[in-house]
């Protein structure tokens, strides 16, 4: 690593598309010669960050600097000599050969008439050798397998000779042999030619093993940055990826291993409990989905017909008590719901807004609590209480005093449920 030289700097950058801001005041910096992995859930803004770094998207606020120069004011040719991006997938509708595709990497430096010098041809040749696509040089690009196409795309960017390479999930399609080879090429270039590399990856363990630093993105912001040991923390990852993740360190190699609930599921038998959900207004959809995925048996109600949660419950085949739409909940429905909640081990109240119409649903929870069921209530009732005289807030407070448990994030709720289930 060349200390002090910054390859890429984001200063308070906000960027996005016409009606949707994706990056929200992102600040970070890559040192020249660093190998950094960019991780984060789908839709957290990783690809947008790459597009912004190359000025394909202009930032709405803030500045992006490439080796100390504002990327928006760099001439395209110079920008390409500093930064190369390997896309998720390269598509060529016309039947170019592999060699023609790789030669595209030299297009900006070949000048206006586009005649390749012997240096250009040598660079193309070397890039093809590095990525093991020399044997494919006269094949049509479109005929190759996905992994071979990825290596050709990498060869094209290597021929461009940039000082910083960004790979947008480019190695995930490669077989294990070629993935290791490509990583070796990248590590070698990084070590010997001080090439700076930003790798967007979903393989957290692999990223930890090869990177100097990790950048963790969430909802368009950098949630954490630092050496792998600091970023790969089970609680941090679990909250960012919104699922239960464990991080273990290999005793011999010291390598960090991130494992998820699927790996765990094979070992533990599915002993879900029976839960009754009080929801409404769309607050229950994600709750239903996750509870079912975790192996719980779910019932729900009372829900008004035409409510989006009612539609979801019906679609997911959840045993639900319905009542007429746009009217207060009636006595018969309430009785049916109370039988369901009595049969359950736990009652969960979602982030549902309360008005006069559905206030009785809280009495359902109170009754269950009296009968010894566990009750979990989403926090922040004050903001969702539309009853006159704040009756819902009062009822929830009474419930909490009587032993109901509050919850904030789904992840938190599921782990508490899991804990209780063990006891």
């Amino acid at each position: 690593m060349i200390m002090g030289v910054s390859a890429l700097t984001f200063r308070e950058v906000s960027a996005g598309y016409k009606h949707r801001k994706v990056l929200d005041r992102v600040s970070f910096s890559l040192q020249a010669g660093e190998f950094v992995s960019l991780i984060g859930p789908n839709g957290s803004g990783k690809s947008t960050l790459l597009k912004t770094a190359s000025a394909f998207i202009k930032p709405l606020e803030g500045t992006v600097e490439l080796f100390g120069r504002d990327v928006c004011h760099l001439p395209p040719r110079e920008r390409a000599s500093l930064l190369g991006i390997v896309p998720q997938k390269l598509e060529s509708p016309m039947a170019f050969t592999v060699e023609q595709i790789v030669t595209n990497g030299r297009v900006a430096s070949m000048g206006i008439l586009g005649s390749a010098t012997s240096t250009d041809r040598d660079l193309v040749e070397r890039a093809m050798i590095y990525t093991d696509v020399l044997a494919l040089r006269d094949r049509f690009f479109g005929e190759l397998s996905g992994g071979e196409q990825q290596r050709v795309a990498l060869a094209m960017v290597l021929a461009q000779e940039p000082k910083l390479i960004m790979l947008d999930e480019s190695i995930s399609h490669l077989d294990i042999n070629h993935r290791n080879e490509v990583l070796q090429i990248l590590l070698k270039l990084n070590r010997e030619e001080q090439l700076t590399i930003l790798l967007v990856s979903h393989d957290l363990s692999l990223s930890a093993a090869i990177s100097d630093r990790l950048l963790l993105m969430q909802d368009g912001t950098i949630r954490a940055a630092g050496i792998p040991q600091d970023v790969l923390k089970a609680d941090l990852l679990s909250s960012v990826y919104n699922c239960d993740l464990q991080v273990r360190q290999d005793l011999y190699t010291g390598a960090l291993q991130v494992s998820g609930p699927v790996e765990g599921q094979k070992r533990s038998s599915p002993t879900g409990c029976r839960v009754h959900v009080i929801a409404g207004g769309g607050s229950g959809i994600e709750l239903f989905r996750r509870l079912l995925l975790e192996g719980h048996r779910v019932t729900a109600g009372v829900l008004n017909l035409l409510d989006s949660d009612a539609e979801a419950a019906r679609a997911l085949n959840i045993d639900t008590v319905f009542d007429q739409p746009f009217s207060p909940i009636g006595e018969p429905a309430l009785q049916r719901a109370s039988r369901l909640s009595e049969a359950a081990d736990a009652v969960i109240v979602s982030h549902v807004p309360f008005g006069e119409g559905n206030l009785v649903n809280l009495d359902l929870a109170a009754e269950a609590l009296r009968k010894g069921r566990r009750v979990y209530i989403a926090r922040g009732i004050e903001g969702r209480d539309y009853t006159s005289g704040r009756q819902a807030t009062a009822k929830v407070k009474a419930l909490m005093d009587a032993g109901a448990v509050g919850w904030e994030s789904l992840h938190e709720l599921l782990s508490v449920l899991h804990e209780h289930q063990k006891h």
Binding site: K18, K51, S54, F56, P76, R77, E78, R79, A80, S81, L83, G84, I85, P87, L90, E91, S92, P93, M94, A95, F96, T97, Q100, I101, T103, N104, G105, V107, A108, S109, M110, I112, L113, G114, S118, R121, D122, V124, E125, R126, I129, L134, R137, D138, F140, G142, M156, V157, Q160
Partner: protein, 363 residues
């Protein structure tokens, strides 16, 4: 030489070959490894030999008989000069349309793109129709081609403007094609309306113009068009390595250090200029700008540095031959050349494309 010596010699040669191959595999020096496939080179030589041959044949065909006219007689030299200038007209028009088609197909990344896709034909046709029906084409010399040319360029600007709405100044390929199709449709219905209300004479003139013909234009117009077409093809050719990169998409081209938006605008301008010049020179001749680029791409690969000049040459020769057929086959009646391009060229090119489409576009 007896058998065993020959056998030994062969073995030595063979090991030498093997050694060379081995060296090729190890050595990264591209002087050894970079070689065009011989078949493609053969095809190129064949094509370049066929071009002058076909041009000479076209000079031998005409309603007055097959064979070279007698240059010593005044009638013969007049026929020869007429055939020669029709050949020039065909070369210019065909080259302009084919080169324009190549650029449109690359910029729009679409095999259905052709010189008229962004409303050039509709706009030029409307301008020409108005000019003919208003009688201006008779009153002022050169007014018909000038009006046709200007209205074609205006239509492109209109289409580009419409497509740019709501996409922050950079129209997507799809919005360009869609607005082109819509504007073309509007133009043709206005033409239909004007023609339907016109006199029989005016109707005849408009329809004859729209069918297209290579009747030699005035010398001034030919010279002016030649300059525009040469400039347009040169301009497109300068863009050709950038067109290669743009085929991979605007985003990828941007990453490779190309000002993609600028290349698209300049490319559209040059190719529209070519198409508009061709239309003002010879009316609306279809098919050349769509099919010749495909066939040349299938034969010589999609690298635009080679494809563009070859397609221009191929388009010119193709149109010259079609014109020779059109004026000869039912002599003394002349068939509109646009009819021949599709009727004769269609089956021939279909045969080629059927066998070699894989070399042009990814199926």
């Amino acid at each position: 030489m007896d058998m065993s010596t020959e056998f030994r010699l062969r073995r030595v040669l063979k090991t030498d070959m093997a050694l060379r191959q081995e060296r090729m595999a190890v050595c990264a020096d591209n002087r050894f490894t970079q070689k065009k496939p011989p078949l493609q080179r053969f095809r190129l030589v064949l094509f370049l030999l066929a071009v002058p041959l076909l041009l000479i044949i076209s000079l031998m065909l005409g309603p007055s008989g097959i064979g070279f006219p007698d240059l010593d007689s005044p009638v013969g030299s007049a026929i020869a000069s007429l055939r020669f200038s029709r050949m020039l007209m065909g070369m210019m028009t065909g080259a302009a349309l084919a080169a324009s088609g190549v650029v449109f197909q690359a910029l729009l990344r679409n095999p259905l793109a052709e010189p008229y896709v962004l409303g050039v034909s509709g706009g030029a046709g409307l301008g020409a129709t108005i000019s003919i029906l208003a009688g201006a084409s008779l009153a002022l010399p050169m007014s018909l081609p000038v009006v046709a040319f200007l209205s074609a360029v205006l239509t492109l600007l209109l289409v580009y403007g419409i497509a740019s709405q709501g996409s922050a100044g950079q129209p997507s390929v799809y919005s360009l094609i869609l607005s082109g199709v819509i504007v073309s449709a509007i133009c043709s219905s206005i033409i239909m309306f004007l023609v339907s209300t016109a006199s029989v004479d005016g109707m005849h003139n408009v329809i004859w113009w729209m069918l297209g013909s290579l009747q030699p234009a005035s010398t001034a117009q030919q010279q002016f068009s030649a300059v525009l077409i040469a400039g347009g093809i040169a301009g497109c050719w300068v863009l050709s390595s950038r067109l290669n990169a743009l085929v991979l998409g605007r985003e990828m081209a941007h990453y490779q250090g190309i000002n993609a938006g600028l290349v698209i605008v300049v490319g559209l301008l040059f190719s529209t200029l070519l198409a508009a010049t061709a239309v003002s020179l010879s009316g609306m001749i279809g098919f050349v700008g769509l099919i010749v680029p495909h066939v040349m791409r299938a034969s010589f690969g999609p690298d635009h540095r080679r494809l563009l000049p070859l397609a221009a040459l191929g388009g010119g020769v193709f149109l010259v031959i079609c014109d020779a057929v059109a004026r000869t086959i039912l002599a003394p009646i002349e068939i509109p050349v646009g009819v021949v391009t599709a009727l004769v060229g269609g089956p021939f090119f279909l045969l080629i494309l059927q066998r070699r489409m894989k070399q042009a576009w990814i199926a």
